[in-house]
């Protein structure tokens, strides 16, 4: 049901049945390494090229997610997925192996929550029973598409982020479980005039702040109502900016905010200002966060996946970077 200006409340009850987080080797070495369902030992994920490696990650996350439930593959009504590559190839190619309707979405690194919000909405409305929502990203496919060849010796500034190699999948339906998808706030495209593709934290922070503030207004809530407000990939540059911007709008998130991009790697892993990419928010949320909710260590969290909607071609034509952020509330059903 529409709530406030940009938000949806899932009144019929939408619940998480299973999820899976799959990563590459560097993420496994990070602080959350043990929380992932599977981590490949090499960046190639035993495939011939980077693009196949990303598909392997995505397929693996779908397979693991499905293996955790007794819902059969043909009972899935809809598969929603998106990634960073042109034409969303990773998702489209993995979808040809999944015997269900398919919606392809693109929200750059906000895709994880975009897919989950759409899927939950379709379950809430009764149009779907079981929905599978996925997303993926790979360090090397993103480097090639958005930056330079992986072995090119260019120097990156400290504001740059490092794309997370991984994929996350979540299975939701209307049958009661421990974790409920309570509602979502769909972001607007926000552009504050930043144009440096090697500083996406600065570009995305206003979009994240806008969605957080809108969410609080729409639901009539305060940051303290959440145990955790988790942004996707603002990194060490965007994090203080989003705190400042939400604070000046009257919502101080300082005490409850964390950023997936800062949680996924150790500071000595040479990732510049932190992790980014579609998989960043996906593997942290569908791994660690859902586990914490299940263990009752967290009761109610707001996940804000942040996306920089840039194209290398358009940025070279001196355009700025439009950004977006989508928020989803995950909570314990008994909370």
């Amino acid at each position: 049901m529409k709530t406030g200006k940009q938000s949806w409340m899932y009144n019929q009850g939408v619940f998480v049945q299973a999820s899976a987080a799959v990563t590459g080797p560097k993420e496994y070495q990070g602080p959350l390494g043990q929380t992932f369902d599977y981590s490949y030992e090499n960046l190639h994920c035993d495939e011939k090229n980077w693009e196949s490696a990303e598909r392997a990650l995505l397929k693996k996350s779908v397979d693991i997610c499905m293996s955790k439930t007794n819902i059969r593959e043909d009972a899935i009504d809809l598969f929603i997925s998106g990634d960073l590559l042109n034409q969303n190839v990773s998702s489209n190619y993995v979808a040809r192996e999944i015997p269900s309707s398919f919606l392809c979405v693109f929200g750059a690194c906000s895709t994880s929550m975009e897919g989950l919000a759409i899927g939950a909405s379709l379950i809430d409305s009764g149009n779907c029973k079981n929905v599978l929502a996925s997303t993926s990203s790979h360090y090397s496919t993103a480097e090639r598409q958005f930056r330079y060849p992986t072995e090119y010796g260019g120097q990156k500034p400290d504001t740059a982020t490092s794309t997370v190699t991984g994929a996350g999948t979540i299975l939701i339906n209307g049958e009661a479980s421990d974790i409920q998808v309570e509602g979502a706030t769909i972001g607007k495209v926000i552009d504050y005039g930043m144009s440096d593709p090697l500083d996406m934290g600065s570009a995305m922070a206003p979009a994240a702040a806008d969605t957080i503030v809108q969410h609080m207004k729409d639901f009539g809530r305060k940051p303290e109502d959440y145990d955790l407000i988790l942004t996707g990939d603002l990194s060490s540059v965007g994090t203080p900016i989003v705190k400042k911007m939400t604070e000046q709008s009257g919502y101080d998130i300082e005490g409850v905010h964390r950023d997936c991009g800062l949680m996924i790697y150790h500071s000595n892993q040479q990732v510049f200002s932190g992790g980014s990419g579609c998989a960043c928010s996906a593997v942290v949320t569908y791994g660690y966060i859902l586990q914490q909710l299940k263990k009752n260590n967290l009761k109610k969290v707001l996940i804000i996946a942040t996306g920089a909607l840039l194209s290398p071609t358009v940025v070279q034509q001196k355009e700025t970077i439009p950004c977006i952020a989508h928020a989803v509330v995950l909570k314990r059903a008994d909370a």
Partner: protein
């Protein structure tokens, strides 16, 4: 108060500043060391293989390119580049790295449309401006010689 208008200015304090002096120093040292290797190779070709000071240039550059291409393939040169910046980008080894890395990257699309089409993707601009500036400097030199 951060607004859309003053955003770029207001957030400057949150963006880490480029370490200009440290980067320049690292570039100077690494770039210098690459030149020392080049000089050593040149001396080797003159002393051991009978090249003259002038003719030793070609085998020296070729050897540096080979070393750089190998280091790129072994995944070392990109790390050196992150450390040294212009120090490893400006010498001929940086040029070789840009070609080798593009060739490696596009290997998956085949020899012709992948490797051959894309290997000069980054180096192309160096070739274009190198040729233009060589032409211009050559013309200036020719004109100066004519009139002076």
């Amino acid at each position: 108060m951060i607004t859309k208008e003053n955003y770029a200015k207001e957030i400057k304090k949150y963006q880490p500043k480029p370490k200009l002096f440290k980067n320049c120093l690292k570039a100077f040292i690494v770039g210098g060391l690459i030149c020392v290797v080049g000089q050593a190779l040149s001396v080797m070709y003159i002393e051991l293989f009978g090249f003259t000071e002038k003719s030793a240039g070609n085998p020296t550059v070729t050897t540096l390119i080979l070393i750089s291409a190998l280091l790129t393939g072994f995944g070392v040169y990109d790390r050196l580049g992150q450390f040294a910046g212009a120090g490893s980008a400006v010498p001929v080894t940086g040029f070789a790295n840009s070609i080798t890395s593009a060739a490696l990257e596009h290997k998956s699309e085949g020899i012709v449309l992948g490797v051959a089409t894309n290997m000069f993707k980054l180096a192309g601009s160096v070739i274009v401006f190198g040729t233009i500036s060589a032409y211009l400097v050559g013309m200036i030199r020719y004109l100066v010689q004519q009139f002076l």
